[in-house]
Subunit: 413 residues, 2 copies
């Protein structure tokens, strides 16, 4: 039973946050392309960024800022140009963007974080950005979450947003989040981005630890095409405006807050996987019986990321052999004799021995998942057990369809 409830308002649901999203002219399409998140007071800030050796200027910028100071007041995000692999000029563009926002908000530039998404190798259209910033700041609003969520997307089919509320010390505390990503990467449109706001008061070290664990259990457990972006960023602010007691050490209250943070991140991560390029359903893989959580998650991710499993599910083929093969190559030791595979409620392999099952019914199970697209029922559940260990892990992905190839190949340069 979850210890929280869903509320409306996205990233502006927590107290003391404003957001905005406008069209600044960065995207050729003329759709909204510039977003701002603003905290009324300096907020504790934590971030998790791409592990790629090739990274955008904004990623270097945020890493340096957060190393120097564990707090921030504003996050500026542009869509259209990734500002990755843009050399020295890209770095200067990032610095200038941060300074321009700081000036317009009348805050120190040290309190501004940045994110970009768009074409790798392209610089931000700085003229458009410069003239857009005053308009963006003027648009800030306590109901601006949807506008911001709409301005950070590229080829996403739907914006992704959530807010949850729980109590700490008998007072309400809220976490909101928005994210973008349609596939790990769209044709040239790099990136998964997620921004989380929280009005609890937490110490910086604890907040960073919570975020890193939540990222492992959510964004790091989804896979659309296995391509990590140069710009992937998850930034979380906690501004203390709930006026609840500060959480400074691990205990019941930090665990409650972390569980809610993880739920927010998992909701956004699943929304990204469901919106995977060309996807017709969400695939959830649960692995049990592994040595530890990490091993379980590793197997789950390998299954969720297998092109063969993904295309079998697109073909509505209950092909458990591919699930077994993917589990086997995950790089985690287990005894083949202990392997058990279930697709939905259909048990297909037990103790390493194939079972007879109703193929037509299993195929029908896969077919109804497609028809439920964008509803709760669009999920195909794969359950795998590899032994008697206590390690449990989940991963999410989507099926591989013709449209994935079309979207990624038929891009005209």
């Amino acid at each position: 039973m979850a210890d929280w409830q869903k509320i409306t308002g996205g990233i502006t649901a927590p107290r003391g946050y404003q957001a905005a999203g406008i069209t600044a002219g960065l995207k050729p399409s003329g759709l909204p392309d510039l977003a701002l998140i603003f905290s009324d007071v300096e907020a504790i800030a934590a971030g998790v960024f791409t592990t790629s050796q090739v990274k955008a200027a904004c990623v270097d910028y945020c890493r340096q800022r957060l190393q120097a100071k564990h707090s921030a007041r504003a996050i500026l995000c542009n869509a259209g140009q990734a500002n990755a692999a843009t050399g020295n000029q890209g770095w200067f563009d990032a610095l200038e963007s941060g300074m321009a926002v700081a000036q317009a908000l009348n805050i120190p530039s040290e309190s501004v974080l940045l994110a970009s998404t768009g074409v790798i190798g392209q610089r931000i259209k700085m003229d458009a950005l410069r003239s857009g910033i005053p308009k963006l700041v003027a648009a800030l609003s306590e109901t601006g979450s949807d506008a911001a969520a709409g301005a950070i997307i590229t080829t996403d089919l739907v914006p992704k947003s959530i807010a949850l509320e729980t109590t700490i010390g008998d007072r309400p505390v809220r976490i909101g989040g928005i994210a973008k990503g349609s596939g790990m990467i769209h044709p040239n449109m790099a990136t998964m981005l997620a921004f989380v706001t929280c009005d609890a008061a937490v110490s910086p070290g604890l907040w960073q630890q919570m975020l890193a664990r939540a990222a492992d259990r959510s964004f790091n457990s989804i896979t659309v095409d296995g391509d990590t972006s140069t710009n992937d960023s998850l930034i979380a602010l906690a501004n203390g405006q709930s006026r609840t007691p500060a959480i400074t050490e691990v205990g019941a209250e930090s665990e409650r807050l972390e569980a809610m943070l993880t739920a927010v991140c998992q909701h956004l991560a699943k929304a990204i996987a469901r919106d995977g390029e060309g996807a017709t359903c969400l695939i959830e893989v649960e692995v049990t019986g592994a040595h530890d959580e990490l091993s379980a998650r590793q197997i789950a991710k390998t299954i969720a990321g297998s092109s063969l499993v993904k295309s079998a599910i697109f073909g509505r083929d209950p092909n458990w052999g591919r699930i077994a093969a993917a589990a086997g190559r995950a790089g985690v030791l287990f005894e083949q004799e202990n392997l058990q595979i279930k697709l939905g409620n259909f048990l297909m392999l037990e103790n390493g021995q194939p079972l007879t099952f109703d193929r037509a019914a299993a195929s029908a199970y896969l077919k109804q998942a497609a028809m439920g697209a964008y509803l709760q029922e669009d999920t195909v559940l794969i359950s795998v057990s590899v032994g008697n260990g206590y390690g449990v892990g989940k991963a999410w992905g989507c099926d591989l369809s013709y449209d994935y190839v079309r979207i990624n190949a038929e891009y005209t340069t």
Copy 2:
């Protein structure tokens, strides 16, 4: 300048080998499905097998045999059923297959190795296999390489075969090879298999080391869809029938033999990548300037395996940003400032700074590669430099097309 020449004859080009391939009724299609390779004398035998935790009975069988004895006289290979994830019964089927061949050839069953390819979770059709074996042995011939190469394929579009000749101690020595694989895995049709024959005399330890290194530089450097099979096997025999001096230690002669063995393996590996499911061209990635060969190969493999790079090349889009992104996430440290990317002869990124290049000409370069399919000119060359190290590595892959999805999804159970 290569130190050898291409000859005809495949795996029966080396002295003292016979081969056969027949239709035993294992494949529903009625195409050839049972192959045998036979050495006139006991041959030194080395093997490299799948690293998957879920592995076929024949893989366990070969590992046990080669652990007990470093030689063999026969390799039996069936296509149609993978005999993987088939439980205890699959193991007994493998044992029985080995004994049946040994009996028909009048050799000890310890001298028989096995390989299977086909549907995971399906047992070998033992009745068909039993009645096929006498026919198969009767068909053995010193010109039987093509028949064997044709009987081990599943959905491959072309059989894969090669033979090379060099001299050791002024006398000719030959290595022949056949392989199958169309994608790492076909819809249910698991597996990459390769069989190599050699008539040199080599000590068992040296032969195994040579084969392991050659496998790393060939079969372990190709990727079609990232799915390692449950049945992957590479087996190499060396029977000494060239009557050349035995190679028992590392030196000029062992290096010459290893270079030729590597060339045979690379030819077969590239043939598998070129025949990747739905592929229209071969992608060769060369990485230089890395710390060591392993790091270079790791980056090359990540680029060759990236769904985004693969679909960009299918779309004939000279999208170097995706190559940069794939290099960055390979798990190898390098300085982004040192990154250089070339597509064919088009330099696109130097010292981490994007360059202007002729996009139309670069796209034309990609287009002509597709038109050269199945010729030497079907190769798209990606050259990446990551620094000043001496590490050089290559990997091969193919583009990702609609047909990959069609082949893997439109399989009706």
